[in-house]
């Protein structure tokens, strides 16, 4: 792909995002002038860039959207949700087109009609200046639509026609061709043929019809218009009729398909004899001179306007003097000492203007932009070290950062190997000195590796706003569908988390928000009846909490009725009759997370798509996080997700039983204690230990994992205290080891069924460490008790 197009697509993605966000914010806060301005500017910039490419529908659609936004910006129109719908639809359509452009480098064939209906809608509030088929302005319909190619098509060169024809055939599209022969005296009727032609929308080709013979110079009347235009456009016939409505008798429009053009090309009529090459060259060079003169004229006219508008001085004046001199030089007028004096300059400009052999007061833009995307893909000028002003931001492919992270992980593992080497130096080779030196080396390396890891992690950090950004739109669309009024509040958007965490958060959050909208939030009428404001509020909050990030989704809806939940769970056979009686309200709410549970009486098309809260909990726990839910009937529900800031490196505490080492996530570890065997008591068939007045159950890890190991009854027992879901549990182990940083790999293949392990990690000495999934281990313990 040519770099300019690639650049456009990258830029477009950003601009479309800010348009979307701005529009949604505007709907809530329609009066904010800064916001309107922002959206307008994004749309405007986008239109400007799109004009560089041959995407006429894209440019026209953006233009219509921009005009509407401009009317809002200037206060002529108030933005309502209908307009917002249309604007969002327009930019959605554009987003779809750009996806197509990304792969095919052209707009989809359906772009024309799709754009047209939206343009009509967007122009509606502006008074519908866009011609509709029944537009009265086009009443004197000058155009005959025909499938017979007129002979003046020969103005275009054969290659171009052939290409166009095959493109039209491939896309089963048609193109409008028009011949516009301005009246010779048109200038005296204040008609500006060039300006008219420059306004033709979606211009695809432009040809000049010159007189068969130009009159000799001495009799040449420059106030006579002797040329005509032939143009090809993708605009609708109605648009052309509207544009040429004041000169209908001078225009002929035909609509042709590829076949008609081909028939014309292969027709028996020989291609019309082209203007003699030499004559063409003369015309060419005349045109060039003319254009040069016209530019010089424009510069002089500009200088005149600067000089008369106000009396410039200083830098402003010398720049005017400079531009006048430059224009004079271009016109071949001998250089004069330029006076830095307003009067002298004005006089000089007036003289020069009078001498300049060009009449138009303002040179209109002559040709459509060149088809840039065909330009040779030259090197982008990024290698110029001088005067680089752009922001000092590097855009890096995510994969590269991921790779860097992997390497850091491997470095960590390799680094851990040094400690084993140090031990070996001491024990196997009896050199304490060497052992110590290796350890010194290790601590140096450890520090660097940690810093490196932190630096890479920092690169991967993204603000939570990335995960939150899709909700304004989601909530808007859903609430409109459900006829509920919902206000979204986000807090802590700047909180950072690893990009993998952010990505993984997406689906659970969407599910929770959908759930909240569908089940939690009442209709405005129900809310008013319950004495609440008609508009509900959903709050998305993110806060950093040490090594974790907490994301909370809260609504002020009807909350969860614990009795209803219990009844449902009982009906579905998820709980027994005893449990129905005994469950506390908090535990009842927790039933929502049981597989197969749904409180909705009917499955709606929003939630209840077979994905329940159990899936949310499972996916969050897979990330090493936890989900908790609190609810107050009538007051609302809040769901809290706690996730590690990063998933790349896990710190585990290594313990061993029966000679086998296991890892336990350090997050869960509270403390390690040694207790005399005699202090381990039994309560209700459960070993317990009393720590600072608290009774903590103790689980024999070896027995749970079915490993042959019996603790020595006389020795002190080693107990690792972990905390899970707020509960403290002791694990009886054989030995404590050090904490290590590992990269956790999930269990795969045949091992994937072993739920008591959350994954494996490679240790520095090459051994595989099994990392325990404490939640499963505890429920396993409960079963084997």
């Amino acid at each position: 792909m040519n770099p300019l197009l690639a650049q456009f697509l990258a830029e477009a993605a950003d601009l479309l995002t800010s348009v979307d966000e701005g529009l949604l914010q505007l709907e809530r806060d329609p009066g904010d002038p800064e916001l309107v301005n922002e959206v307008f500017r994004a749309a405007h910039t986008f239109k400007g860039s799109s004009g560089l490419f041959d995407f006429p529908e894209l440019t026209r659609l953006t233009h219509a959207a921009e005009d509407l936004l401009d009317a809002v910006r200037s206060g002529r129109l108030a933005l309502d949700s209908g307009m917002t719908d249309d604007l969002l639809a327009a930019f959605d359509l554009i987003r779809g087109w750009l996806a197509h452009v990304t792969t095919h480098e052209q707009l989809p064939a359906t772009a024309g009609p799709a754009a047209q209906s939206l343009i009509t809608k967007l122009r509606g509030p502006l008074g519908g200046e866009q011609p509709t088929p029944g537009d009265t302005a086009g009443a004197a319909v000058p155009a005959a639509v025909s499938d017979q190619a007129p002979e003046w098509l020969d103005v275009f060169d054969t290659d171009w026609l052939e290409n166009t024809a095959s493109w039209l055939v491939t896309t089963s599209a048609t193109m409008r061709f028009a011949r516009y022969t301005p009246d010779e005296g048109c200038f005296f009727r204040a008609e500006d043929p060039l300006h008219l032609v420059s306004q033709v929308p979606a211009l695809a080709g432009l040809g000049l019809i010159q007189p068969f013979e130009w009159p000799p110079a001495e009799t040449y009347d420059e106030y006579q218009c002797l040329i005509g235009f032939v143009l090809a456009t993708r605009a609708a016939v109605g648009e052309l009729n509207h544009l040429f409505r004041y000169v209908p008798d001078q225009v002929e429009v035909v609509e042709l398909d590829g076949a008609a053009i081909r028939r014309h090309l292969s027709g028996e009529e020989p291609p019309a004899p082209p203007v003699e090459a030499a004559a063409q060259a003369v015309v060419q060079s005349q045109t060039e001179n003319l254009e040069l003169a016209r530019d010089a004229y424009a510069i002089l006219a500009a200088a005149q306007r600067s000089l008369t508008a106000e009396s410039p001085s200083g830098a402003r004046l010398s720049s005017v003097a400079h531009s006048v001199a430059a224009a004079a030089a271009a016109l071949g007028v001998p250089a004069e000492t330029v006076e830095a004096d307003v009067e002298a300059l004005t006089a000089r400009v007036t003289t020069l203007l009078a001498e300049t052999p060009v009449t138009p007061e303002e040179p209109p833009p002559v040709a459509p932009p060149p088809p840039v995307e065909r330009a040779p893909a030259d090197r982008a000028r990024t290698d110029d070290p001088g005067g680089q002003v752009g922001t000092r931001i590097l855009k890096v492919d995510q994969e590269k950062v991921d790779h860097l992270m992997e390497l850091v992980g491997e470095l960590n593992v390799a680094k851990n190997g040094l400690t084993f080497l140090a031990d070996a130096a001491e024990e196997e080779f009896g050199s304490r000195v060497l052992g110590r030196r290796i350890k010194d080396q290790y601590s140096g390396l450890h520090r660097i590796a940690e810093e490196l890891q932190a630096a890479v992690m920092d690169v991967r950090m993204l603000p939570l706003s990335v995960a939150f950004s899709r909700f304004p739109r989601l909530i808007r669309d859903l609430s409109r569908r459900l006829d509920k009024t919902v206000e979204l509040v986000t807090e802590g958007d700047d909180t950072m988390a690893d990009k993998d965490v952010i990505e993984a958060l997406g689906d659970p959050l969407v599910h929770l928000v959908r759930n909240s909208l569908d089940h939690g939030i009442e209709t405005p009428a129900e809310r008013v009846a319950a004495g609440k404001a008609p508009a509900a509020r959903i709050t998305l909050t993110a806060v950093a909490d040490g090594d974790a990030v907490i994301v909370e989704i809260a609504d002020d809806g009807r909350g969860i009725d614990p009795d209803k939940v219990k009844r449902k769970a009982y009906e579905k056979g998820l709980i027994s009759e005893d449990e129905l009686e005994a469950l506390t309200e908090t535990d009842a709410v927790d039933l929502i997370f049981r597989p197969g549970f749904s409180t909705a009486d009917q499955v709606s098309d929003l939630s209840g798509r077979g994905v329940g809260m159990d899936a949310v909990r499972a996916s969050v726990e897979k990330l090493g996080g936890t989900v908790t839910m609190r609810s107050q009937p009538g007051r609302g529900t809040s769901t809290r997700l706690r996730l590690p800031l990063s998933m790349a490196v896990t710190q585990v505490m290594v313990v061993s039983v029966a000679g086998q080492r296991f890892g336990i996530p350090v997050d869960l570890v509270v403390e390690t204690v040694r207790v005399p065997a005699a202090e381990i008591g039994r309560v209700l068939h459960q070993d317990v230990v009393v720590l600072r007045g608290e009774v903590v159950p103790v689980i024999d890890l070896a027995r749970v994992l079915d490993m042959p190991w019996t603790p020595e009854p006389a020795a002190d027992q080693r107990v690792l205290i972990v905390s899970l879901h707020g509960q403290r549990v002791g694990l009886l182990v054989e030995q404590f080891h050090r904490e290590v940083d590992v990269i956790l790999k999930p269990m795969e293949g045949l091992l994937a069924y072993a739920g008591e392990f959350s994954g494996t990690a490679l240790l520095g000495d090459g051994l595989v460490l099994l990392v325990l999934n404490m939640k499963e281990v505890l429920s396993l313990a409960a079963r084997t008790q």
């Binding site: 400007g48 830098a315 720049s319 531009s323 932009p369 110029d384 001088g386 005067g387 002003v389």
Partner: protein, 128 residues
């Protein structure tokens, strides 16, 4: 890198348009630097002497008019020609540009040859 091509600063918030103008002017024999808004342009102009400025109108942070005014003010005081290019083509836009101190106002998208021609013409006094 002793480059005696005339130096031009392209100021536009749209990266695509910037790239387009940069390429055109580079092909036309200019040494091109870029700025993404008026503020950056003013900063750049204070450290480097440019022979030409190509300035967009609608930009965040500092718009084109303010940028041109600042370039012409005593703070920067550059006498170099300034070409304003904008999609705005309402009457009065050009006058505002000239009042701010621009030397020529063109409407986007500018024909490639025309941009090159005008840029060369405006910098004709500069060593090529």
């Amino acid at each position: 890198m002793s480059d005696n091509r005339p130096k031009v600063l392209v100021v536009d918030d749209a990266a695509t348009v910037r790239m387009y103008h940069t390429k055109l002017l580079d092909d036309a024999g200019f040494e091109v630097a870029e700025a993404a808004n008026g503020l950056e342009a003013v900063e750049a102009a204070m450290s480097t002497a440019f022979d030409l400025f190509v300035v967009d109108v609608n930009m965040p942070k500092m718009n084109g008019y303010t940028c041109v005014e600042t370039l012409r003010s005593d703070t920067v005081g550059t006498p170099a020609p300034i070409l304003m290019i904008s999609t705005e083509d309402r009457p009065g836009d050009a006058d505002r540009a000239y009042a701010a101190g621009a030397n020529l106002y063109l409407v986007k998208p500018v024909n490639a040859e025309r941009l090159a021609r005008v840029a060369r013409m405006l910098t004709s006094g500069v060593a090529a």
